[in-house]
């Protein structure tokens, strides 16, 4: 069916602030949806209160409301703007819950607003555990033994019947909030109590644990004509028991036979049809590794985090197509925007593997419980594309920006095998590195399989990587043959890793590799594995086969992205880099984006002129620079991730546009920064730098307590501590994580804190606004509430600030 002409104005609900389980992917989905609707000539009204998003730019909607996402506020907006359609399935759980509440309160009916896409009934059936289970019984799809409870007593009665372990899943919560697996009565009680509290309708599903089964997800789309397609399937390396947002995921599935694949695919299509969804949907299955028995774990009747991943992994723009389905189109009427010659009613073919690796906040929150379970703890994720699973894992690990060299996490290096077994049992975020370390120390894959139920296919791939590590260690750089080095690169070993093993510099490995004529080639993500001609400029590097990338001789600029979302480095940098891209495009400069975060707008292949999905390390960035013949690079929009690359790039002779590395260093290096301030006669907090313990004590005394300790070059105040006396300093030096020198020591002044954002072209400075913090200095600016414009600063103080800039 063609589009619905009875509608002119569409209200789109965004997903609000970033929370664990609902991050940048909904900015990506929302932006795509708004653009798709505008492309069809609709007037788009957007409600969202997250300023760090691209969707809230006025170019993406006709009217943007920065208002709280509540029913009352939405009713006011609806009565003012009089939309005739509402699109709520692209705003995550927040959008979905609001649509549900608006319908419940009769507001949609009152103002004659048509809910577009998936009907309310389908949303209810997908989200309400009880309705969903009833429907699955009706159509004969298996769900694990379970029951719905509203009280603790009901839960205890069920536990009596089926025994432990039991999974607790609260209804209508995000990323499994409040859920978990209980092995004992005590944890069970605790989980049920918490879960009932978390659930807005005081309802929990408790079910028999199927831990150990393979966890497989399907991304499915359906139009009003009941055409159903699966965009891709994804397999979690971790078996059922760890939230999919915390699992390492590979697309397409690696260990299913065609029979199993088609069985689950057919079940997905049956389910999406029975639910009556119009748009995208994510379905999770548990598959018994030893039989064909499977269970449904969950259905998300909306675009989800996995949809963003599936879009980036396949090149198929799910959110954009879902928005068009919502206004009435059929899949077979929509052109595939990637090939521009075929239709959207097809299933993408992948001639590569995509590996997703979560990024956890435990480097910031060192005392948090690192055990993973049914409740998501990751703040972000990276994706890596490669021709082999092994290469994909390596690229993903390189993209995480952890303290790793190759596949080795430095903190695990000196652990003994029994210690590692203990670590493995903790099921923490580090377990994959624990497995690597165990393999290095001679533990067999059989033993690891026994303990983790991770499929042998994955464990064998890990073991083969560790085997290669040993071969590499037995060589020296001048002994390695071309064939051997080629093999190592095909398996994804980085120059940096090879350099660390062979005790040479990374640049020596790079030079040697190039002298042997081993360079990265670039493949294209085109949704169809080259079956049709495609128009994407979406690439990834590998060392297999021929180069598919074509370079242009236009004026071009490389934009370095900010990698995975973590505390202190969120989507605001995505906002910056995307706007950087738009501004350059306006100036007719060709833009090339390099990034590895699958959730973002910057990695939408429709954003920059060309997209490279790569780790943000010097090697991968230089490879792109050389392959594209790039002269100019912008690092200032990519957060600390990109800043950390500045030095290496400049040393290699790359021109950094805008601020140079020297200036960045002058600001980041406290000593140099203070020298600069003194030169400019600007008062600064008394502070100095200490290179060792004695110096630290002496300098702290000289400055006077309380003092603030921090390392150089960090994001979001990582490792920053306030020390109030000499005793606590001594205590701090003796306990906790080791201090990394040099350490910066500042006098800690609990005064008012204000920030100025400004822009300068070298001569003139423009100050758009001054922000004033409500909390006193010492609360990180990212954690404090701020008022714009500043309320309590006198004009005199403001004027004093101006010339300082």
């Amino acid at each position: 069916m063609p589009k619905d002409d009875t509608i002119q104005t569409i209200l789109v609900i965004g997903s609000g602030p970033i929370v664990i389980g609902q991050a940048a992917e909904f900015d990506y989905a929302g932006t795509q949806a708004c653009l798709a609707l505008k492309e069809e000539g609709y007037k788009v009204i957007l409600v969202n209160n997250n300023p760090a998003t691209i969707m809230t730019d006025d170019m993406n909607a006709d009217a943007v409301y920065f208002e709280p996402l509540t029913v009352d506020v939405l009713e006011k907006i609806i009565s003012k703007e009089k939309p005739d359609g509402l699109l709520a399935t692209l705003g995550g759980q927040t959008g979905l819950n609001l649509a549900y509440q608006l319908d419940d309160a009769g507001i949609l009916e009152k103002y004659k607003v048509k809910l577009l896409g998936t009907p309310i009934d389908s949303i209810k059936k997908g989200e309400d555990r009880e309705l969903f289970r009833e429907l699955m019984f009706e159509i004969g799809e298996p769900v694990p033994d379970s029951t719905i409870v509203h009280t603790l007593e009901e839960a205890l009665a069920f536990a009596d019947k089926i025994g432990f372990p039991i999974i607790v899943r609260p209804a209508y919560t995000l990323g499994g909030t409040g859920g978990g697996i209980a092995d004992s009565l005590d944890t069970f009680k605790e989980l049920v109590r918490g879960g009932l509290q978390e659930s807005p309708i005081t309802q929990c599903l408790i079910e028999r644990s199927i831990a150990g089964y393979k966890e497989v997800e399907y991304e499915v789309m359906r139009d009003g004509n009941n055409t159903c397609i699966t965009i891709c399937n994804m397999e979690n390396i971790d078996p059922v028991g760890i939230h999919t947002g915390d699992s390492i995921v590979v697309a397409p599935s690696q260990t299913l036979s065609d029979d199993e694949f088609q069985m689950l695919r057919a079940a997905s299509i049956k389910i999406i049809s029975a639910l009556g969804i119009i748009g995208g949907c994510n379905i999770q299955f548990a598959l018994d590794p030893n039989s064909k028995q499977y269970y449904l774990i969950e259905v998300n009747p909306r675009v989800s985090r996995s949809s963003a991943l599936a879009s980036k992994a396949t090149g198929y723009p799910i959110a954009r197509i879902a928005a068009k389905l919502a206004v009435g189109y059929d899949l077979s009427e929509l052109i595939n925007p990637v090939t521009k010659s075929t239709y959207s009613s097809f299933e993408p073919a992948l001639d590569y593997v995509a590996v997703k690796f979560p990024r956890w906040p435990f480097d910031k929150f060192t005392t948090a419980d690192r055990k993973l379970g049914t409740q998501m703890k990751a703040t972000g994720e990276v994706m890596a594309l490669h021709r082999s699973f092994e290469g994909g894992v390596q690229k993903a690990v390189d993209s995480l920006e952890l303290k790793t060299i190759g596949l080795q996490l430095s903190s695990l290096k000196n652990k003994t095998v029994p210690e590692l077994w203990g670590k493995l049992a903790e099921k923490s975020d580090e377990r994959i590195f624990v497995i690597f370390e165990m393999l290095r120390k001679g533990v067999t894959i059989e033993e690891i399989h026994e303990a983790t139920a991770i499929d042998y296919f994955f464990l064998k791939s890990f073991a083969s990587l560790i085997q290669s590590e040993m071969e590499i260690e037995a060589k020296a750089i001048d002994q390695v043959t071309r064939e051997e080095l080629q093999t190592y690169k095909e398996k994804g070993f980085s120059d940096r890793y090879l350099a660390s093993v062979w005790k040479v510099s990374e640049m020596e490995v790079r030079a040697h590799r190039k002298s042997l004529d081993i360079t990265a080639v670039y493949k294209t993500v085109d949704t169809c594995a080259a079956e049709f001609e495609s128009h994407t400029n979406y690439h990834y590097s590998t060392y297999f086969g021929e180069n598919e990338q074509q370079k242009t001789d236009k004026k071009k600029v490389l934009m370095i992205g900010s990698g995975p979302i973590r505390i202190g480095q969120g989507i605001e940098f995505d906002y910056c880099s995307v706007h950087g891209v738009y501004a350059l495009q306006d100036e007719n400069v060709e833009t090339i984006m390099i990034n590895n975060n699958p959730e973002t707008v910057s990695t939408d292949f429709a954003t920059a002129d060309r997209l490279y999905f790569e780790p943000l390390t010097l090697e991968y960035v230089l490879n792109v620079i050389e392959a594209e013949d790039i002269k100019d690079v912008i690092v200032q929009f990519g957060g600390q991730t990109a800043i950390n690359l500045a030095k290496g790039l400049e040393e290699y002779g790359v021109n950094l546009l805008g601020t140079s590395f020297d200036t960045l260093d002058q600001l980041e290096d406290r000593d140099r920064f203070y020298q600069l301030l003194q030169k400019l006669d600007i008062p600064h907090v008394p502070g100095s730098m200490a290179n060792g313990e004695e110096q630290l004590i002496a300098h702290a005394e000289a400055i006077g307590y309380p003092v603030l300790l921090r390392p150089s070059y960090v994001i979001g105040g990582q490792g920053m501590e306030i020390i109030r006396s000499k005793e606590s300093l001594l205590n701090r030096m003796a306990n906790g994580t080791a201090l990394v020198y040099p350490v910066l020591i500042d006098s800690y002044i609990p005064g008012k804190e204000a920030e100025i954002d400004l822009i300068a072209d070298g001569n003139d400075v423009y100050i758009p606004i001054i922000a004033e913090h409500i909390e006193k200095a010492g609360v990180h600016s990212g954690d404090s509430m701020a008022l714009l414009p500043a309320q309590s600063l006198t004009d005199d103080i403001k004027d004093k600030n101006d010339p300082l800039c």
């Binding site: 239709y343 009613s345 299933e347 079956e531």
Partner: protein
């Protein structure tokens, strides 16, 4: 055909039901549509991507054809419904009561 149709992700539309579904295909030749003129054969299935003929049906006789693989091994199993159609046809046109009834 230049490259033919290959793979388990080929979209086919059944003109009888207007449904679109995935099919498993592996063919290098296609039915030349003008050649159907003057026969009692009609196009029933088409490939959505390039509009080529993927199957025919007869106007009067219990005959239908596919150019692709409805048995789908490997491949998506949506077109298994065609086997039900086929069995139904056998029952409808057998011209006698069920032999073993």
């Amino acid at each position: 055909m230049l490259f033919g149709h290959r793979g388990a992700n080929q979209p086919v539309v059944d003109l009888k039901t207007k449904k679109v579904y995935m099919s498993s295909q592996n063919h290098s030749y296609e039915v030349d549509e003008p050649s159907l003129q003057g026969t009692s054969l009609q196009v029933r299935f088409r490939n959505v991507n390039d509009d080529t003929v993927e199957g025919l049906m007869h106007e009067d006789l219990p005959i239908f054809t596919t150019q692709y693989h409805p048995e789908a091994n490997p491949g998506p199993i949506e077109s298994s419904l065609l086997f039900n159609d086929f069995l139904q046809m056998i029952n409808d046109y057998s011209g006698r009561e069920k032999a073993y009834a």
